[in-house]
């Protein structure tokens, strides 16, 4: 905002109003301060005002306490990331001020809680400091015994004033949020909001108003990736799920537990991860394709049963919301280090499908695609999302639910004969007959993890093992031929192609835009279909001198990140190299650009 060329003065009265196209606001406090809800309100307001929005948050892996931030970027134009640096920093405590001032743009505004923060005299010139005793004034406004609870809503009022936000709409959102609770709660929240909105920010020389965004055809919805994925599972027609609580997957299981009864579906909380995946496979075998999911260590525990579903050729949806690993690792940080276990985390040759959604919106559509692939190819499909997508909020066009929602009730039509593992099926694609299906020949199949013949009966024949292994592989190769190639963002030929997957899409696109503006020849693409990859990808790679695979994981023993290693194995092309980091945070645009430059330098020397 402060360095935005689009900033222009339109009103000369005091305080003057400047029009901005976008703003990045970072709120820093502790986890119990409710700063996530300030961000949530801002994001929802942006969505309703037809603006684009993206958020970023960190939460400590503790129940209460510990530093937490919420960053929201609101724009009238396209918003690809939550922003490298903030225009406005709102620190609630001294530690928030000290730890986050470095993320503020030069000339940016620090709107600090003067009840707790003592600004650094050396920084007074570099940033505009505006103090407000947020905690004290909240207590004054609300009174009673709530102490400074509600200061988040007070702070929201301050931000609303500063950005000339639609106060009436925000009041509406606050009322909606507390709907169903005691009316005193809503009244208290609105009181705090008004106190903040009306607070005389005497040192505030100007307020900012967003440019009118371009009108959109459809309503926008605002939610995080976990919600989008959960609702996508419902739209896909899934009516059974099983899981075990683990961060950050738990949100999805809570959503499904809450929503499934409306569709006469069930979600079961299990005794452990193994029971959860087993139960989901049981339901799938019963003809109702089911979902399970987990994060981190939970994915390791599910491995054996997923391998069974590969062998027995039973459809299954497994959601992996990746977090920092290995082991308990960094439960509330982002990492893209489960790609290998998703693709190869089974003993034996056990090919399965892995798809990584690239945005919050994509989480919704990926869920439907995954269910349809699982059913058609009778295979487990792993949806590989990550903590960053799971928790960030984006605005996107209202999905056409009437067209998208599907009924996948089991087909129990009687049949004369049934071979569950028919080797003569085109491309090896077969589907099992769920129980309840009458087979007139009286010859019923067994579904099994033992190597088997075409009827599912155990077979130790070397030829049968070769044929069945090939069957399980070739059906996924057929899928690879059917998949659409990823779209290249930027020209299809040039010097550098950046390849990313999952939550890095926005950072890579914004980096590409910036680099191209600076005259560099860079394009990027996002790999959604990780395993199998779409056939024909090599034609895209041929258009570039360098291919850099940017990932949130380690370069590994041999110098390549997990997707990078897979692509090198597939294409055997030395121009594919990796750009990796393991700090547990999303890629900032400037970090991507810096790594690209240094990688190009390394390759030259």
């Amino acid at each position: 905002m402060s360095d935005s060329p689009a900033t222009k003065e339109v009103v000369s009265e005091s305080p003057k109003v400047s029009k901005v196209t976008e703003a990045v606001i970072r709120i820093a406090g502790n986890s119990q301060d409710g700063i996530q809800s300030i961000g949530g309100f801002l994001a929802q307001l942006a969505g309703r005002s037809e603006q684009e929005v993206m958020t970023f948050m960190t939460i400590p892996a503790t129940i209460s306490g510990g530093p937490s931030i919420f960053q929201v970027r609101i724009g009238s134009g396209e918003v690809l990331t939550s922003g490298d640096d903030a225009d406005v920093l709102m620190p609630f405590y001294q530690h928030s001020y000290e730890n986050h001032i470095g993320f503020l743009k030069e000339g940016g505004i620090v709107l600090y809680d003067s009840s707790h923060v003592e600004p650094d005299p050396e920084l007074l010139q570099k940033y505009r400091h505006i103090g407000c005793p947020i905690a004290e004034r909240t207590v004054e406004a609300i009174g009673g015994t709530a102490k400074d609870k509600g200061k988040n809503i007070f702070a929201l009022g301050l931000v609303a004033r500063m950005f000339d936000l639609d106060a009436a709409k925000l009041e509406g959102l606050i009322a909606e949020r507390f709907k169903g609770k005691a009316s005193s709660i809503t009244t208290t929240a609105l009181t705090a909001f008004h106190a903040g909105y009306g607070y005389p920010l005497t040192t505030l020389e100007e307020i900012y108003a967003f440019e009118e965004p371009k009108a959109r055809d459809a309503d926008q919805v605002v939610c995080n990736g976990n919600d989008a994925l959960g609702y996508g599972i419902l739209a896909a027609g899934v009516r059974f799920g099983a899981g075990y609580p683990i961060t950050p997957w738990s949100d999805i299981m809570e959503l499904l537990r809450r929503e499934l009864p409306k569709y006469d579906g069930i979600f079961v909380q299990c005794e452990d991860e193994i029971a959860a995946v087993s139960m989901a496979i049981g339901s799938s075998w019963g003809g109702r394709v089911a979902v399970t999911g987990s994060s981190g260590p939970g994915i390791s525990l599910k491995g054996e049963a997923i391998g069974w579903a590969v062998m027995a050729e039973i459809p299954l949806i497994v959601i992996d919301v990746q977090r920092g690993g290995p082991s308990t690792g960094m439960p509330t940080n982002v990492e893209q280090s489960d790609l290998n276990i998703a693709c190869f985390g089974g003993h034996g040759d056990s090919p399965r499908v892995v798809i990584a959604p690239a945005s919050v919106e994509d989480c919704f559509y990926t869920a439907i695609e995954a269910v349809n692939i699982a059913r058609k190819y009778s295979t487990p499909v792993i949806i590989l999302t990550d903590q960053a997508i799971a928790t960030r909020i984006e605005a996107f066009a209202m999905p056409k639910l009437k067209e998208l929602c599907q009924d996948i009730s089991p087909d129990l039509t009687p049949r004369d004969v049934h071979k569950p593992y028919d080797l003569s099926a085109p491309d090896g694609i077969t589907q099992h007959a769920p129980p309840g299906t009458h087979i007139r020949s009286g010859k019923y199949p067994v579904v099994t993890g033992l190597e088997h013949d075409e009827m599912g009966h155990p077979s130790g024949s070397p030829k049968m093992h070769m044929d069945m292994t090939a069957k399980r592989r070739s059906k996924l190769q057929a899928l690879g031929r059917d998949l659409e190639l990823p779209e290249v963002f930027g020209p299809e030929e040039g010097n550098v192609l950046l390849i990313g997957w999952g939550s890095t899409q926005g950072s890579l696109r914004e980096a590409t835009e910036q680099a191209r503006k600076a005259g560099d020849s860079i394009s990027c693409l996002t790999m959604r279909h990780i395993h199998p990859m779409p056939e024909g990808l090599e034609n895209i790679l041929d258009g570039f001198n360098h291919v850099f695979v940017v990932e949130n994981n380690d370069e590994g023993l041999y110098g390549y990140g997990q997707l990078c290693g897979l692509m090198r194995a597939k294409f055997a092309n030395p121009k594919i190299v990796g750009i990796n980091k393991t700090d547990g945070l999303t890629w900032r645009v400037k970090d991507v650009l810096a790594h690209v430059q240094s990688k190009l330098g390394e390759l030259k020397s």
């Binding site: 569709y263 087993s278 339901s283 027995a312 009458h438």
Partner: protein, 297 residues
Amino acid sequence: MSATAEITREPLKKKDLAADHPTWCPGCGDFSVLALYFKLIQNRGIHHEKIATVAGIGCSSRFPYFVQGHGVHFIHGRALPFATGIAMSRQDLDLFVFGGDGDAFSIGGNHFTHCARKNVNLTYVVMDNSVYGLTKKQTSPTSPIGFKSKTDMWGAVDQPINPLKQAIAGGATFVARTTHTNPKHLLAMMEAAMDHNGFGFIECLSECTEFYNGAFDASNPRKGGEFLEVPEDHDPTNETEAYDLAGQPFPGHFGIVYQVDRPSKQDREKTINAKFMEKTKDLEAHQILQQNFDKMK
């Protein structure tokens, strides 16, 4: 389904039910469980497509291959959660789970407790031979202290699990004990478990003639032992009495040790769903979902 054509079908005969020839050793107790499963299906007039036979891993878990009907041979120890998935999604099937003592009480021990506590409506028959047979004689969780095996060459040292006590403590609502040497009793227990609404658990002594020959002779009158049924004055709804009965030294008593009435997992979920469905029954799925999306506008 074209139900009218299916209704008039002949009841199944034994030959319609037999699939692969069992791979069990001659004299194995599991043969009689299989034979009585066929009998049960015939007695109840169940048709092929409604049979769902599920098992984990072990000698006894080969069961589904020997039955004509929909069958599953799942991974070691996880037959119960797999079956729970079927039970919750497809309440129209006759669901039977078979397994051994290793599958049930060792690798699957956690699931046994939780399936009991959830009171999932299914029948679970554990063929207890007190030895790992498929892997050729290692100690099992029900092997008695002193039992010599390839992993306890000086005799087993760990306290064996008492399956009945475990089931009662876990919250099972139907706990019975039977033996392969008394077919009439075994069939009666299977029928009672099937008729029970909830988790019907049967511990069936099933001798491994190969690796633990004579293990249960003391309960077999033909081998000079004594087969004692649960006393007539036993109150199966009394948990303390049931626990005492379960703790008797071998050969103990056979029959329904414990049985109480508690809503099954399916019943409880149905109650929840009915409340929600009352509001959504006239809506299409996309209309229900639209309500959520409208809140996110």
